[in-house]
């Protein structure tokens, strides 16, 4: 397996508490990893640090990009922004989509931010929405969609750019159990079909059970990891295995 994201001795403090306590973590290409743990265990903080949303107080985070390994902890705000829009995709509990945009525009915006023209962006977004079972709903605003449909839009947005790592924070937390299962199917199948790596923070044992690997955090430390222990990787100076960041939708999955 190829390590795609590696964190070493990651430490993050909040006033009066330690959220991450010298955490070592490696995600491999194409893996689906559930990060579980009780509230306050540091799982969301770990996800946010790995995704370049939060800066760790100490430790190193390295992303294996096609050109060369990239140290996230040394990037400035602009560099992290670029990384998030080119390399990463996000699915949050509340979707974090824009309520004033249509479903199609929400997905297309991710591509437009990378410089793709609007027509191409919307065509590709429509392709993704169709593949995720939202054909005919492209022009609906988020308020006109159900919770499960909104999460499908978020799943499409997270992957339309060809993001190599998809981060999901309680993606089914606000859904009923039937819709949760449905959304989880869509997420896992689309991620697997397109060769993405998925990191999902969850409280839900059903979600964790569907992932290839489960990492448990407690008090800011990893207390168990169902995957084989992964040694600290030696990133090649010129990696070749990764898909291009603008890879198109492959559509090879059923929803």
């Amino acid at each position: 397996m190829n390590a795609i994201l590696h964190a070493q001795q990651l430490t993050k403090h909040y006033p009066g508490s330690i959220a991450l306590d010298h955490v070592d973590f490696t995600a491999n290409g194409g893996e689906s990893i559930a990060i579980i743990g009780p509230s306050g265990s540091g799982k969301t903080t770990l996800l946010h640090c790995l995704a370049g949303i939060l800066r760790p107080d100490a430790g190193a985070i390295t992303l294996n990009t096609p050109s060369s390994p990239l140290r996230l902890d040394t990037l400035g705000d602009a560099g992290l922004s670029r990384l998030r829009r080119e390399e990463f995709g996000f699915v949050f509990q509340q979707g974090m989509l824009l309520p004033e945009l249509t479903a199609l525009e929400n997905v297309a915006l991710a591509l437009m931010l990378n410089g793709t023209d609007r027509n191409t962006s919307e065509a590709r977004a429509a392709e993704w929405l169709g593949a995720l079972g939202l054909a005919g709903m492209e022009q609906r605003r988020l308020g006109e969609l159900s919770g499960g449909q909104v999460q499908r839009v978020a799943i499409a947005r997270a992957q339309v750019t060809g993001a190599r790592v998809v981060f999901a924070d309680e993606p089914t937390g606000a859904l009923d159990s039937a819709t949760s299962a449905e959304v989880l199917n869509v997420l896992l199948r689309s991620v697997a079909a397109n060769g993405r790596t998925l990191l999902v923070v969850t409280h839900d044992p059903n979600v964790a059970a569907r992932c290839q690997r489960v990492v448990e955090l407690r008090d800011g430390r990893i207390v168990s990891d169902s995957g084989s222990p992964v040694p600290a990787p030696n990133f090649p100076a010129q990696a070749t295995q990764a898909a291009p960041a603008t890879a198109n939708f492959k559509g090879a999955f059923n929803v």
Binding site: S81, L83, R84, L98, P99, E100, E105, L113
Partner: protein, 456 residues
């Protein structure tokens, strides 16, 4: 338990629960509405105090002053009431989410309406009393303004009952506006939280506005046939007032039309976001730029006033010279008041707009939208319709005064220059307010956890 008594019990509870996060949200929640209500009240009292001077005169020329005072009052009071309503909506909107949640928990419509009305009225009362205090501090200085060759002095001071009446009027405005503004929450508790529908801005608004302007033009053309001086003043003031209200009615519809066309042509992310921001709520977008519509309208009158003063001043006798000087003083005061309103309205609305969209900004940041694009989208959403808005309202004002002045006076260089200067100053004020608002984007993104779980 009655709805009112339940509202009286719940309101302080909700106000207290908000206290823990006051530092983060206090500016939007209480500070901005209080500031806006305070400014509205201080300006209203100043306008009322100034105009009462003219009504204390009874000699031959008093009628001319009174006619001009009515025009100035209408030009200032209508935008002031609009600003007041805007502040009231701001005060009410801050509670939308909580009130919607209360509705979901089973609070009935009446309780929610009462809570909103009570909160808005309390904020309005605090702001209005502060505004009255500000007026009291300014009154001695206002007394130094000269009309008819002498300082107006204590004639411009309002009596305590008048001041309290004005404070009460601001509170009533706030209460009524809050109750009306929350109709959607009361009818559909889920609607606010999920933002199910975009604000409408129907074409009927444009039709009504056009009819009002046409009726105004006809009435202005027939002014001399009304006979009695008081009727002429009333018709003139009514026409200007209705035209300003018509502009307020039509504005959101115009913005929606323009944004729809921009949405179709948008190629870049910031263009798409700017157009969608306007379409999401044309009424809110109008509040961002409506102040400039008002100053542009006033600017035409100021230009005409200055041209009239120029014409009269040539070879005039002592009384006419004094009148010319007073007209100039009057137009300057009107213009100053108008710009104060734009500054206040733009500042309040911009700050509120950024804070209201905090969750959207956090969402955009998460997907990697560069901050400069967020700023560009915000600037574009506000500045792009300004030219159109200013142009339409100046045109409406010009059409209305045309029957009185004729085309020759309207096209004098002093009129054109004045209107151009007013446009430029209005644009500058709004741009500064937008800059102040966008500066808050950094503060929002520095504490994303405060907003990340909000309504998007």
């Amino acid at each position: 338990m009655s709805s009112l008594s339940m509202a009286l019990r719940l309101t302080p509870y909700l106000a207290r629960s908000n206290g823990s996060s006051f530092r983060e949200t206090g500016l939007r929640d209480a500070g901005l509405p209080i500031l806006a209500f305070g400014t509205v009240t201080a300006l209203l009292l100043t306008v009322a105090g100034g105009s009462q001077v003219f009504w204390s005169w009874s000699d031959d020329i008093a009628g001319t002053y009174q006619a001009l005072a009515v025009v100035a009052m209408v030009l200032l009071v209508i935008p002031l009431l609009t600003l007041g309503a805007s502040a009231a909506r701001l005060a009410a909107r801050r509670r939308d989410d909580r009130l919607a949640s209360l509705r979901l928990l089973g609070a009935n419509s009446a309780t929610v309406v009462w809570m909103t009305v009570i909160e808005s009225t309390v904020l309005a009362a605090v702001g209005a009393l502060a505004g009255a205090g500000l007026y009291a501090c300014m009154a001695p200085f206002l007394g130094l303004i000269q009309f008819r060759g002498q300082a107006i002095g204590s004639h411009a001071w309002l009596s305590v009952p008048s001041i309290l009446g004005c404070v009460l009027a601001v509170c009533v405005l706030a209460a009524a506006s809050a109750a009306l503004g929350l109709r959607k929450v009361v009818v559909t508790p889920l609607g606010v939280r999920t933002r199910q529908t975009a604000d409408g801005a129907h074409w009927v608004r444009g039709l009504i506005a056009a009819v009002v302007v046409v009726v105004g033009v006809v009435a202005m053309g027939m002014l001399s046939s009304f006979g009695a001086f008081v009727v002429i003043i009333a018709v003139m003031g009514g026409c200007f007032g209705l035209a300003l209200l018509a502009l307020n009615l039509m504005g959101p519809w115009i913005l929606r039309l323009r944004a729809s066309s921009q949405l179709k042509r948008a190629k870049r992310p910031e263009q798409l976001l700017a157009a969608r921001t306007v379409l999401e709520s044309p009424k809110e977008s109008w509040r961002q730029v409506g102040g400039v519509a008002m100053t542009s309208f006033v600017g035409v009158f100021v230009g005409v006033g200055m041209a009239v003063a120029d014409t009269m001043g040539t070879g005039a006798d002592a009384e006419a010279t004094l009148l010319v000087r007073d007209i100039n003083t009057g137009v300057m005061i009107t213009l100053l008041g108008s710009f104060l309103m734009v500054a206040c309205s733009a500042g309040v609305n911009q700050a509120a707009a950024v804070l209201d969209r905090a969750s959207t900004l956090v969402a955009l940041d998460r997907v990697g939208m560069p901050r400069k694009l967020m700023v560009a989208a915000r600037v574009k959403a506000v500045m792009s319709p300004l030219f159109l808005v200013a142009g339409i309202s100046a045109a409406a004002a010009a059409v209305l005064v045309l029957p009185l002045t004729g085309a020759a006076l309207l096209t004098q260089p002093v009129v054109i220059l004045t209107i151009g200067g007013v446009f430029a100053a209005g644009f500058l004020l709004v741009r500064l307010a937008v800059a102040a608002g966008t500066a808050q984007i950094g503060q929002v993104l520095a504490r994303p956890e405060r907003y990340a779980s909000m309504d998007s």
